[in-house]
Symmetry: C2
Subunit: 205 residues, 2 copies
Amino acid sequence: MTGLAIDRIHVGDRAELSRVASSSNVSEFLDSVGDRNPLHHDSRVAGTTRFARPIVPGMWTASLVAAVLGTKLPGPGCVYVAQSIEFTRPVDFGDTITARVEVVERLVEHNRVRFKTVCVNQRGEIVMRGEAVVLPPKVEISYAEGVTNNIAWLEWSRLPYQWATEAVTSWTRFYAAALGAWSASADSARSMTGQGPKTPTETEA
Amino acid sequence: MTGLAIDRIHVGDRAELSRVASSSNVSEFLDSVGDRNPLHHDSRVAGTTRFARPIVPGMWTASLVAAVLGTKLPGPGCVYVAQSIEFTRPVDFGDTITARVEVVERLVEHNRVRFKTVCVNQRGEIVMRGEAVVLPPKVEISYAEGVTNNIAWLEWSRLPYQWATEAVTSWTRFYAAALGAWSASADSARSMTGQGPKTPTETEA
């Protein structure tokens, strides 16, 4: 895994990751956050809803986006600033969900990257979409099986709490950008579903 | 657990849930979504970042908001439409995170409820904030330890895929509302941190 600094990130760069929404994966997720909503595990309750069956929690799906950002693009060392999420379709147990991210804006002076984010099922149907804003690492970091080749510690040690003050001002900018980009991103999010990634795909069960 | 229909939900209603960001909870979360970002588990990598230690994944924190919405307010049967997230501060392993939701708008004609959402740590510092939009159940549903007293199946059976078409139009409305409410909600999100909930608090380890 390589955590890319902003100078190696370009508009249009893409990454993706696929994962099966297995019962065991989802059970682990629900246990980890203490979510006892019967919609996700009790077929008697779920069977009476408009979905007529238990469905996978939306935040499990949304968390796949975080996994792509934190492991592939920008990769290790990036800091999550903001994420917007729209759930557009239920995810069934057993579905294979692919989370895709694509760089739509580089804000170099603030070391920020804005991504279009979308999750699709095995039929290519969009189940979630939105936007993410992250701070990539200040300098490139490589990581492989616990071996770290890090050249960043000196630079980062000079910026201990700068991120916090930066984050305070990011939200308004994020919303304004997202609002302006909505019409365009709604169309292009759909177009992403037919395009291959620039980085390798991995499927985990 | 009772899933409330919109006629029993009022602006200002609040609920919350607390949970410890223990190593075991977070490990389960990372396993469930396949997130191998060393920032969350490798102290050698994390020690070189601006945080100088491993931090809890932001989406674990965000998922506590979903747990409150799905189990307390509106409760079982609600459908998650959208969520905006801003991460404002890192969460450390061992922190106790309290997720709070407060109704800020009822859109009765669309059976939608908009919530202000905030997560705070054990010192009352905001670590995440944003807004959520959900569809509460059409009629009240009660659920206790696997025993369901459901009066909703007939009404819901008439609405099999209506949610999907509704969801398509919700995003623009959500963003417009969020943008307009931003100045007010930024202030009131802070004020939430000093207020007690209307529903019982539970802390789980």
